[in-house]
């Protein structure tokens, strides 16, 4: 029953009813308003707090692949990747590695193919190849976006030596002045380029020499395993190219590593010994697990192939290993983590490699151990390395616990195995 507007507004009963109605309406409105806003806010805030929590847990948003990640500083020049700066970890002193980066320039070319770019080559690009001075990905076809060099061959095992021949020719022709050494690897090879520089710094690029995992059959001076990677000096590369131009070398077989070995021997290139100062291998044709823990069956071909005696177990492999082969993508990143990132704080390694003959700081050419060099540096400017502190020595002699920490209560000093 709707009261007429001009006759009823002053009517108390109607007013109260209206008031009652309006109160009801008000409360209803209040309820509706608060509910709607509550639901609305919950949605918005829920999403906000979820994303906040999510961001808090996860790491910073993944950055674009080729620019702005602090450690990736390379320039794409056509089909080549030029590393501008040697990657560094925060808090590390990499000046020796930097010196070697400048003095021992390495061009790495990676044997790959169109079907392997995303499944394998991509991970090489993201990991160890960043430590090379120049990187070339060699494929049968050119791909400017990766980038890869197009060699104009087919794909497959029978094309391996063709690809190798063309790849080396391409490298010398287009980048011969940008490097001193030329490394070949597969897209499932993991290489520690810094350790390669340590070995190569004992030689010059003008020597006709090449290094890798040395095999003995078929070639008198031996040849280097293709999968484990091998590296040629510039002179060796020149002679290889010359061999083809003079027809001394031809495409004899598709077994790429053997064919390389035969050509290089003909051209007077020496097969070098890549082992460390304790005669431990640095280039490895299998994954670390196989070398460290596997027992190779006595009938396995490997026994008859290795130029140097095989050592099974932990001494198979140098601390300064250069390469491993058959490395899948997960292992690729794992090895990158083990090599460059994960470390035991303050641990004094058993093996103290001698500074290479091409001495960096002092130019005296006198090889010293890392420990001796550290001592020199400590004398120069008091580096807070506790064990080198003279007071620590004093404490030691009074019989209290030494600050040189041992883990089995009685330690032993570093075995000074460096060659005099």
């Amino acid at each position: 029953m709707r009261p007429h507007i001009d006759q009823c507004w002053w009517d108390p009963s109607i007013v109260t009813m209206k008031a009652g109605n309006s109160r009801c309406a008000f409360s209803l409105g209040f309820l509706v308003g608060s509910c709607t806003l509550y639901i609305f806010l919950r949605q918005v805030w829920f999403e906000e707090s979820y994303s906040w929590k999510h961001d808090g847990k996860s790491n910073p948003a993944p950055l674009g692949p080729e620019q702005n990640t602090p450690n990736l500083t390379w320039r794409v020049e056509g089909t080549a990747l030029i590393n501008l700066k040697h990657p560094h970890q925060p808090g590390e002193d990499g000046h020796i590695a930097d010196e070697l980066f400048k003095k021992v320039r390495i061009l790495c070319w990676v044997m790959t193919g169109p079907s392997n770019l995303q499944s394998k080559a991509r991970h090489v690009k993201a990991t160890w190849s960043r430590h090379c001075n120049v990187v070339l990905f060699m494929s049968s076809e050119e791909d400017r976006s990766f980038p890869t060099v197009g060699l104009g061959t087919g794909e497959g095992r029978d094309q391996l030596y063709w690809k190798t021949i063309r790849a080396f020719h391409y490298a010398l022709k287009n980048h011969g002045d940008e490097a001193d050494w030329f490394l070949k690897s597969d897209d499932d090879t993991f290489v520690v380029v810094d350790n390669l520089r340590w070995i190569l710094s004992n030689y010059t690029a003008q020597q006709p020499i090449y290094f890798g995992k040395r095999f003995k059959p078929y070639v008198k001076q031996g040849y280097m395993s293709g999968g484990a990677g091998y590296v040629l000096s510039k002179e060796a590369l020149r002679r290889f190219v010359e061999g083809f131009s003079t027809k001394v070398c031809t495409h004899t077989t598709s077994v790429e590593d053997l064919a390389m070995g035969q050509c290089l021997e003909k051209m007077g290139v020496v097969a070098g010994d890549s082992r460390d100062t304790l005669h431990r291998e640095t280039f490895h044709p299998f994954i670390p697990e196989h070398h460290l823990t596997g027992k190779f069956s006595k009938t396995f071909w490997y026994w008859n192939y290795c130029f140097y005696p095989i050592v099974e177990g932990p001494q198979c492999c140098s601390d300064l290993a250069v390469s491993f082969h058959y490395v899948d993508p997960v292992l690729m990143y794992t090895l990158e983590y083990y090599t460059y990132r994960l470390r035991p704080y303050g641990y004094q390694h058993r093996y103290q490699p001698p500074v290479p003959a091409v001495s960096l700081a002092s130019h005296t050419g006198k090889p010293t151990t890392e420990a001796q060099r550290l001592e020199e540096r400590v004398k120069e400017k008091s580096v807070p390395t506790y064990t080198m502190n003279p007071r620590a020595e004093k404490v030691k002699t009074t019989g209290t616990t030494s600050h040189k920490f041992t883990n089995a209560a009685q330690g032993r000093n570093i075995t000074d195995r460096s060659t005099a």
Binding site: A25, L28, T69, I96, V330, Y340, G346, H349, N407
Partner: protein, 317 residues
């Protein structure tokens, strides 16, 4: 009708404002509340490099003397392969490592606790370790399926006073209780051990034999007993906030990172100063030993403020 309409509108607006006010008030409260809660759930980080360099000789001397670790490795004959692996690898880096077993094995040495119940065994081991600690002040409890880098553990606790109660590892929640996950290793200070020995006597709050019907895992039982002693779990992480204690294997963590962070896999994955990894096979552990203690790139130095020597009679590190 008009009046009702406008009242309704007024009501709606007022309702909205009311709701807004209440929500702000709530979040403000819960914001501070959760912060407060965060403080209880500590994030424990190692001392920074700058701090270390500022130290005096005597302070450095004190710290190096303090930071010695007693490893309690809880084994069973079922885990013989991992037991042997732990024996051959990371446990050599502890200042003292003792294997505590449920029953003896002819092949490997251990303290035979002759106890099948895991919680009771852990209690006995803790008691034994406390009594045989000598001058060791830090205790690391792990199963042999965990791999530990003791040097990094020492780095984490370097500036922490072991006469204070510390209970560190990877923390998880069970209801309201924060506990340290067993699989990624548990770090206890000397004071914590002392308090544990005390609370073990309290049969009501820290019983030795739990309810036979439902078994609470030892890690939560430990956390409960510690809670009654006023000791709370702290999450061990590095300066960037990355967890140092992992119950997954390295390859598992790398695989995860490849899926989540394909542009920066290694950076996003794991800490450089990681302390533990779990779930690794015997050969994966040998590779990890090589990767941690030997494999490195020439020419990169870190100039750490302390030096830890390699253990005697070992060739895989």
């Amino acid at each position: 009708m008009m009046y009702e309409g406008s009242s309704f509108m007024k009501g709606m607006i007022l309702g909205g404002i009311f709701c807004l006010v209440v929500s702000f008030f709530e979040t403000f409260n819960s914001g501070t509340h959760s912060e407060g809660h965060e403080h209880l759930h500590h994030h424990l980080k190692p001392v920074s490099k700058d701090e270390l360099e500022k130290l005096s000789e005597s302070q450095m001397s004190d710290w190096t003397l303090q930071v010695r670790v007693y490893c309690l490795i809880m084994v069973t004959p079922k885990l013989l392969v991992h037991w042997a692996t732990a024996n051959d690898t990371w446990s050599k880096h502890c200042d003292k490592s003792v294997f505590y077993t449920s029953e003896s094995s002819k092949v490997l040495e251990a303290v035979d606790l002759q106890e099948q119940d895991e919680w009771a065994r852990l209690r006995k081991a803790i008691r034994h370790a406390y009594e045989n600690a000598g001058d060791l002040r830090w205790f690391f409890v792990a199963r042999p399926t965990t791999f530990a880098i003791i040097e990094n553990l020492k780095y984490l606790v370097l500036d922490k006073d072991p006469s204070q109660p510390f209970y560190i590892g990877h923390t998880e929640k069970s209801g309201e209780l924060d506990y340290v996950e067993y699989d990624s290793g548990i770090v206890l200070s000397y004071e914590t051990m002392r308090r544990l020995i005390e609370i073990f006597k309290d049969v009501d709050r820290c019983p030795e034999r739990g309810n036979a019907l439902w078994k609470t895992p030892e890690e939560t039982q430990l956390a409960t007993c510690l809670k009654y002693s006023g000791v709370f779990a702290e999450n061990g992480e590095d300066a960037q906030g990355k967890g140092l204690f992992n119950k997954k294997s390295v390859s598992s963590l790398i695989s995860d990172s490849m899926g989540q962070n394909p542009a920066d896999v290694v950076e996003a994955c794991c800490s450089d100063m990681a302390i533990t990894f779990g779930g690794m096979s015997q050969s994966q552990i040998q590779v990890l030993m090589y990767g941690v203690y030997r494999l490195r790139p020439y020419g990169h130095d870190f100039h750490d403020s302390l030096t830890f020597l390699p253990p005697k009679d070992s060739d895989n590190d």
